[in-house]
Chain length 568, copies 2
């Protein structure tokens, strides 16, 4: 392909609204352009790379026995009402009306569609197992779209759905997809870590996120154990409940005047006690009831854990007015002793002795509070956010915390959707049973961007061979020189004949320096420079983009070298 016949609008300057390197490079190297917040066009250079990623995903899904199909992106409301997700998804789902006033959504995911298909077409245990997948444009109206394709509102996704007769068979399907994911990300040269995750709006019991560590921001926080490899999303991560039970003797309960000091920081400073000697008390409205949640002063409350524990549809922090009306004291002065509402305490609180908490009276705190002596909680549970340095729940080693980019997500759904949509099959024992399901997603554009996030330097992209839109770029450094032009054209034709994707920079209004900079920016793995060495001794100079290594070769050598190199 000659650049003049191609479309490669590269930029000299960094785009202003790009926050991370991969996003900048995708704009600068002419892979994508923004149309609206979180809405991008793939230009030809980016689209070839995207298709290369798609091909890897498709091959591994097919190898795993999954069947490709394509659901519509627009789906009628009635289908989503069956699972209640028309409401649950809220503003994150794009909704529209057709000319007759019927409501449709733009699919953020396709459980409803696939379950509808299964309940109509899969009738017997003989039709199972089945794994369906599609590679399709999805829609999520993110509050804060950012990082280019990392958090877009229209994005390409591979989503797969498995149907099994039993939990045991779901394990097999889940393992197939899990293994396929490992292979896919390996072929994309990404060091992906499967971490335990919360299931969020998709639901189900077990789920894994497939993340890559990203030092520059990223969307997923997770912890990992450097010893045993335990890894979990921050929302789902557990830790040992505490080092040890505090050993001091229980002192008598005291009410102390803390005046205007309300927050953990203020009270801790005022009383000159460390934060871990205080308890933090928070009132939540969980579905329709109010609950007091108590954690150690140096911990943070994990709302996902709290919501999951109560199996709640909605959860929000109570307002100051609500707290005052329930406790007759303001936020910051409340506590679990004589709480007028149900109390849940974090497991770490079990290990605390003689701690300080609000007295349920403005201006006062209680000192030397002790669990079971001064109050009895209704529930004890792990409801805190794991911190760096907390202890691994599996082996006790201090955990490390990372930022990651989520590229894939797998879920064991069980019967969550098949029950709601009454999707059953006739089992071998003659009974109608609900399908046991799993679902499995990969962000295709996000994976492409993660590859660029990993493979680049300060000059530009460094494509891995199998993802590179072109394998070779030929750079004639002086297109007004007929010999150089002829040699470049001849090499271009030879490589095209060999079926090798090659780009020829035939632009005549760029200096050699500009061409070299552009070549490093777009990052084709092999650069062939036709210039000084050619004029001097008839040789081509090859530069390996990844290593910067240079060699000179004659025509036949270089063709053979390239043929070998692209097998990589």
């Amino acid at each position: 392909m000659r650049i003049k016949d191609f479309f490669l609008p590269t930029l000299r300057e960094d785009p202003q609204d790009a926050e991370i390197e991969s996003h900048k490079l995708m704009i600068k190297a002419g892979l994508i352009r923004k149309m609206a917040a979180g809405v991008y066009s793939y230009l030809p250079f980016g689209y070839i790379a995207l298709k290369n990623v798609e091909k890897i995903i498709r091959e591994e899904m097919n190898n795993a026995g999954a069947l490709e199909l394509l659901f519509p992106a627009i789906m009628p409301k009635e289908l989503w009402d069956e699972t209640g997700r028309w409401e649950i998804y809220g503003d994150e789902m794009f909704k529209l009306k057709d000319r007759k006033g019927r409501f449709f959504c733009l699919g953020p995911t396709h459980e409803e569609a696939v379950v509808d298909l299964a309940r109509k077409e899969l009738r017997s245990y003989k039709d199972l197992p089945k794994i369906f997948y599609q590679i399709q444009t999805k829609y999520r109206d993110e509050i804060r779209p950012r990082f280019g394709l990392m958090r877009a509102r229209e994005f390409l996704m591979k989503d797969a759905y498995s149907f099994d007769t039993s939990e045991e068979n779901l394990e097999i399907s889940y393992k197939k997809m899990y293994d396929a994911y490992i292979k896919i990300f390996k072929r994309c040269h990404l060091d992906v870590i499967p971490i335990e995750a919360d299931s969020g709006a998709i639901g189900g019991k077990v789920s894994h996120e497939f993340v890559v560590i990203s030092e520059l921001g990223g969307e997923s926080e997770f912890v990992m154990c450097p010893k045993c490899g335990y890894a979990a999303n921050i929302e789902a991560a557990k830790s040992l409940d505490s080092e040890t039970l505090e050993t001091e003797d229980e002192e008598p309960l005291e009410k102390i005047n803390t005046f205007d000091n309300k927050t953990i920081e203020e009270v801790s400073d005022f009383l000159k006690v460390p934060r871990h000697k205080l308890a933090k008390s928070l009132v939540y409205k969980i579905d329709h009831k109010y609950v007091l949640a108590v954690i150690r002063g140096d911990d943070e409350l994990n709302e996902v854990k709290l919501k999951n524990f109560f199996n709640a549809k909605s959860l929000e922090l109570a307002t100051d007015e609500e707290v005052l009306s329930i406790f007759k004291a303001h936020t910051g002065a409340i506590g679990p002793v004589n709480s007028p509402i149900e109390t849940i305490v974090d497991k770490k609180v079990l290990k605390m002795k003689n701690f300080i908490c609000g007295a349920n009276e403005d201006g006062f705190h209680l000192k030397n509070v002790n669990l079971y002596r001064d109050f009895t909680p209704n529930y004890v549970e792990d409801i805190r956010v794991v911190k760096e340095g907390d202890f691994c729940p599996k082996c006790g080693t201090p955990l490390k915390k990372y930022n990651g980019i989520e590229l894939g997500h797998t879920f064991k759904l069980g019967t969550k959707y098949s029950e709601k949509m009454n999707a059953t099959f006739l089992d071998a024992d003659g009974k109608e049973k609900h399908f046991i399901m799993g679902c499995y997603g990969i962000g295709v554009g996000r994976t492409l961007q993660a590859i660029i996030e990993k493979f680049h330097d300060d000059k530009g992209i460094i494509w891995p061979m199998n993802i590179a839109p072109f394998k070779v770029e030929i750079l004639p450094i002086n297109t007004s020189d007929e010999e150089i032009n002829n040699a470049s054209n001849r090499l271009h034709e030879s490589l095209v004949k060999e079926g090798i994707e090659v780009l020829l920079d035939d632009r005549d209004d760029l200096s050699a320096g500009e061409k070299f900079n552009d070549a490093d920016l777009i990052g084709i793995p092999l650069q062939v420079i036709v210039g000084r060495a050619f004029k001097k001794e008839g040789k081509f100079e090859i530069k390996i983009r990844k290593t910067g290594e240079r060699k000179t070769m004659d025509f036949n050598e270089i063709v053979n070298f390239i043929k070998e190199a692209i097998k990589e």
Copy 2:
């Protein structure tokens, strides 16, 4: 692929809401399923076939030098306001709001997107010509979705857009696309007729529809000259203005009582004169003014021609109330003599003598009306619908009329969009000029369905080899027979190793008859029956689906036969 591992939900009965054979067969043979009116899922069997069509389109577009990219399906209103099409498209365009209240549409086509890209990224005549294309899901909220994928609301389309420096260069790009279309449809084995067409909402001066003749309904009516090959969509078709001028002498104008007779039929019957001696008068509201349109009594008015003549944004028939208030007479009693509003007459009316029309007085008509003696029209133009038997505008031969399915559409847009969106490039003469554009669409799903509409019999689909989802189907007629099973498996493995797409019907709960019926329904080109001949003499029976021809062969013969046959 073993059917047990595949997903092939075939049906015995015809689906109720399918009107044409191809639609019925796509449902029955398990290619597609309906999710909502005009909204379909592609099942795995249909999706493979669709991808085969897509591959042909992609290859020919690439061969023609077009560059593939991918625009978003959702686009912001602001972009569509620039061309006025946010309003013009009306209810046919799906519209939605994001969480911040910003309006988006689901793209029915992508001129706005591509012009926006061009004006930002193509700056010089050196960047031209360029042809961009994408294969993408499109959305049109059809009033009456029907015929399966033929008129769907969500559908896959290949849309291409060319950018040139001049009309002459547009000719070159247009020819490239035209030729690519001919090749694409040839490779799809479709006898496509390029017909002259109206440009509709897309606009521009010249446009061609690529249609296949369809006896069973279809969406496009067109006429074709059996002698010179002139072919045009009914909306755009012209014909010779008339045989000859009528020769009778002009008689004196007379007002006659026609009582309650209003329509052409009623007046013609009542007065016992042929319909072509009457003139039909219709009042239209064209943009904001009213116009009286007059055609011969046996003709039909072509609203597209009328709208184009006035270069109007909107056109609608006036209501009875509007007619009464303008003419002081009811619809059916009005006419061009002393018309209170502007009058346009069809060219055929020029040839009429002594005709009859409404008297602009309820209950009365005028007899022996003659143009220029009794009234003078403001405009004379071809505003009628061409009928079968009208004369070819090029050679005078009587035209034939057909129903067709539009598979592709090409448009010479000129500067229509580049002017509205102020999209310019710097030409060689140093001047800023508007891009000269063309646009080119193909309905991908529609093309797939047209192939089925052409290649089927009363038993099912008869796939052309290159479109067939599988090339060979192996039919072991008794799966409880170990020899038959082993032989079938061995053949299956051998063909898989050869890279041949093969389906093995390993279902054990179907009779031989049911398997044969299913095989004919799904229409794989080569059926290999492993049954009686195998038990008797170790031979495989091959059946060619297209011809019904049968041969028996041993293992090596059949593998070689298949390898040859799929080269077809």
